[in-house]
């Protein structure tokens, strides 16, 4: 897999992922004959620069959520490298691993299930502080109030329980928790998927403000291309465990090269009259990750597929201006 070229004029690279692979073994049948392998992530490489946002977009089965979890080592990757500020994350263990967790945190998709329903807001947001610092109760409480105010919530809420809050508020509490240890890097896994549009606007605005104020780096995972385009600096489009296109956000929208990216763009309904285009209706559906097509994983649905596409797997190639595409055409 070709590496994404490092440019030296832009801010330094903070997160680097090389050839990340995550296979899940499918336990099939009673006697475990021929266990299927689900290739959730199949050789993914990318970089995120400090204080920037990389948007990871794709549909179901593309592996984007798994990638997020592997980067934070919530799942152990089957192979590959994850480097954070030069440190090999996958090689760490014990105390050093716990120490680096302070720098990389995650905000999950479903705010209703990512907070323990039996804990007060104080305990939830304070848990990272309890785990990693030796602050006493009073100090933790102060810090929690500070964090809540930072995400636009009143400190009066610290003794309340999650079921007393709305989705948007819960998500903000989750963000406060993620920020408790002053991380440098946040993985945001569909943070607004469960929220209404107006609440989403609040949360996104908050996230962007926080990014500016606290110099945060984001990995923003979502299936919503419009949203990803709004918030990201660069976008990586995933399909069936591979990145098939990578470019700056505007470039992806103005100049999509990979047929899947084009189809995705075309399928995304838009509120902008000017950008409505002739539909490229993509037929079929995403194949089973346990049984990916040979060659280019997209070739069965690709309108422009050739013989080569069904045999040889394409690699990411720079087609100019740090725009990478993985396609034979």
């Amino acid at each position: 897999m070709n590496e994404i070229a490092e440019t030296d004029r832009t801010p330094e690279v903070q997160v680097q992922v090389k050839n990340l692979v995550k296979h899940f073994v499918q336990r099939s049948g009673f006697l475990e004959r021929n266990p299927g392998i689900v290739r959730a992530v199949d050789g993914v490489s990318f970089e995120i620069q400090r204080k920037r946002t990389l948007g990871l977009v794709g549909e179901s089965g593309c592996g984007k959520t798994t990638i997020g979890r592997c980067v934070l080592r919530l799942l152990e990757p089957t192979a590959g490298e994850v480097t954070f500020e030069g440190v090999d994350v996958l090689g760490l263990s014990g105390r050093r691993l716990r120490r680096i967790r302070r720098d990389m945190q995650m905000v999950f998709q479903n705010p209703y299930s990512s907070l323990d329903p039996r804990m007060t807001v104080l305990n939830i947001v304070g848990e990272p502080l309890q785990t990693h610092t030796s602050l006493n109760h009073g100090e933790i409480r102060e810090r929690v109030v500070e964090l809540l105010e930072h995400v636009g919530m009143s400190g009066d809420h610290i003794y309340r329980y999650p079921h007393e809050f709305s989705g948007g508020q819960l998500q903000r509490i989750a963000v406060a928790r993620a920020l408790a240890l002053n991380p440098k890097f946040l993985v945001l896994d569909e943070p607004t998927a469960a929220l209404d549009v107006s609440v989403q606007a609040q949360v996104i605005a908050q996230l962007m403000q926080l990014q500016r104020d606290l110099d945060l780096t984001y990995l923003f995972i979502s299936h919503n291309l419009t949203l990803v385009h709004y918030i990201s600096d660069t976008i990586a489009v995933t399909y069936l465990g591979k990145i098939i296109e990578y470019a700056e956000a505007d470039e992806i929208f103005d100049n999509p090269i990979h047929p899947y990216t084009q189809a995705l763009l075309s399928a995304t309904p838009s509120l902008d009259r000017e950008f409505r285009q002739q539909r490229v209706i993509l037929g079929g559906r995403v194949p089973d990750p346990a049984n990916p097509p040979p060659g280019c994983v997209f070739h069965p649905r690709c309108p422009g597929t050739t013989d080569q596409c069904s045999k040889v797997e394409p690699h990411l190639v720079d087609v100019g201006g740090n725009h990478l595409v993985s396609c034979h055409l």
Binding site: L74, R102, S113
Partner: protein, 303 residues
């Protein structure tokens, strides 16, 4: 759904305040279930009876065993509200005193079983792997003992007494809590908030202590409430066969044991202890149902 506490506009000022407010809400929700409230009231009556038995019983010495042969098997009357037993002792007083061992077996057995079984199950469920297997196999072994037979065996070995009865019942009861806790823990393990805690770097044991066990406690408490009734039943069964509280100390079970011999002459002697057992078991069951509906925070919110 936005903040739903217009009614409780008072904000919690402290951690205890928060929990207190929650309990108040739970109580309010429970109040709506009339059966549960009635059951709770009856249970409280029994508990009070047990606690204040010496003051409430009209004939405390008879309750403790003193015979009164002149009034053998008298039907209920003004002097003996529930009649007398085969030795002339006041049935009411003996029932009041008998509520002590009967209720305490229920409460202690269930309490101990929960305390032993729940953490074991939580650990097994969360840890998985060989630890899970080991714990569950031991649990299975204990589950396979029929309670009564085990009780008989233990009593035969150690002698029949209240304490041994309690011990043997507990030994057969705790595995159910382990099973329950394990099932809960296994499904909890997949919850996002557990994943979030791992992402924070919280070590496994702390996760079990802080997240798994509190969340497992709810179904355990519901089960426990209902189980108390069954435990009382089992305690009575043991006394009935002579393995629990020994005569002349009063216990509903051993009263029944003797009473069946005199049923044709003095049915009240059997009816009233039996009624007491029935009532307690039923009330705990109904209360348990009510508690289950209440402890789910979601249902508390919109009623």
């Amino acid at each position: 759904m936005t903040m739903n506490h217009e009614e409780t506009s008072r904000q919690a000022q402290s951690a205890w305040g928060a929990r207190f407010l929650e309990y108040r809400l739970m109580w309010r929700a429970l109040r709506r279930d009339r059966l549960a409230v009635i059951s709770l009231a009856i249970i409280l009556v029994f508990v009070l009876a047990a606690v204040f038995a010496p003051s409430l019983a009209p004939y405390p010495d008879q309750a403790l065993g003193k015979a009164n042969l002149s009034e053998k098997l008298d039907p209920p009357s003004a002097t003996h509200l529930l009649g007398t037993d085969d030795l002339g002792r006041d049935v009411l007083s003996r029932i009041l005193y008998g509520s002590r061992p009967s209720l305490s077996i229920g409460i202690f057995v269930v309490g101990l079983a929960m305390i032993i079984g729940t953490p074991l199950g939580a650990i097994a469920g969360y840890a998985g792997g060989w630890l899970d297997q080991a714990i569950m196999r031991i649990t299975d072994i204990f589950l396979s003992f029929p309670a009564l037979l085990l009780a008989i065996a233990i009593s035969a070995a150690l002698g029949a007494s209240f304490f041994n009865a309690m011990l043997s019942i507990t030994l057969t009861w705790w595995p159910w809590y382990t099973r329950l806790a394990r099932a809960q823990a296994v499904s909890l393990k997949e919850q996002t908030f557990i994943e979030a805690s791992r992402a924070i770097g919280v070590p496994g044991f702390t996760i079990i202590r802080r997240h798994i066990i509190p969340n497992v406690l709810t179904p355990a408490l519901v089960q426990a409430t209902m189980d108390i009734g069954s435990a009382v039943l089992m305690g009575s069964a043991l006394s009935f066969v002579g393995l629990g509280v020994q005569l002349p100390r009063a216990d509903w079970g051993n009263m029944l044991n003797v009473a069946r011999l005199y049923f044709s002459d003095g049915p009240w002697f059997a009816i009233f202890p039996g009624l007491a057992i029935l009532l307690i078991a039923m009330c705990f069951n109904l209360l348990g149902d009510g508690v289950r509906d209440v402890l789910d925070p979601q249902s508390r919110r919109t009623g």
